[in-house]
Subunit: 126 residues, 2 copies
DNA sequence: TTGACAAATGCAAAATAATGCGTTATAATG
DNA sequence: CATTATAACGCATTATTTTGCATTTGTCAA
């Protein structure tokens, strides 16, 4: 793989993601970083978020609709509300053994993603 | 919610998905059903796949890129190859207790999705 | 049966998401 | 410093998904 160079844009994107505790889409990250760097393009945000996710510096969440990104790579599950589309964290000590140990005949396992879809507390009353 | 009526198109779409063992995108399902029903539109395929997924008759998989659909709702994980983008099944008896029992303070849990990203056997050599 | 109601469709356009490409800029080398 | 290779950029385009609307079609009850 090619050597990664420094870029102001990528630094901004990573900082933004590390300093927020929600799970923004590329569009949301763009809206945030464009304030500090008006010339940045949405394409650059997409590209860098994907690069950072490939490097394991952030998490990419495909949860329906646009992808979301998570600045926290500690072990946790995601709870996705089907009504308001928000993503919540569920912290855990470690993955269940049955999942962590999966070795499916030659498939080289990388990131493991556990997502629970449902209805959040706030939306249940509505 | 309104009563669901029968439609030839929905039946074709569901049958197609039940009779294949891959994980097609909406576009792929369209290409298949249009052979049996030349007048069907891609919009109808999208609409019905989403309806069927909401009803729990099929699974909608958000794995990055276009959504994929799965006609088999039995308990299983998905292995997604980051190179060729194919989706493989990993059958299991039941979900680990730690996951099945999650009850996060008012969040009403529905579908649970476990996805492992990695590199498949075929792509590892390349 | 037949008429009425509304679910579902096909088409096309709009909205949303993601990528290709020519240009710019980082950083290693002489 | 000047040069050079190529990572990263911004813009424009393409890909994907949803939606509006006029029309068709499945159901139910008269």
């Amino acid at each position: 793989m090619a050597v990664q160079r420094y870029s102001k844009q990528r630094e901004l994107i990573l900082n933004d993601l590390k300093n927020r505790c929600d799970h923004p889409t590329a569009e949301m990250v763009y809206e945030s970083v464009v304030k500090k760097c008006p010339a940045i393009s949405l394409g650059t945000v997409y590209r860098n978020l994907n690069t950072l996710a490939e490097n394991g510096q952030i998490l990419k969440l495909s949860v329906g609709g646009a992808d979301h990104f998570d600045g926290c790579t500690d072990c946790h599950y995601h709870l996705v509300c089907k009504k308001c589309k928000r993503v919540f964290d569920k912290w855990i000590e470690r993955l269940p053994k049955e999942i962590a140990d999966i070795n499916d005949n030659g498939f080289e396992v990388g990131e493991i993603n556990v997502t629970l879809y449902g209805v959040c507390k706030d939306c249940k009353g509505l």
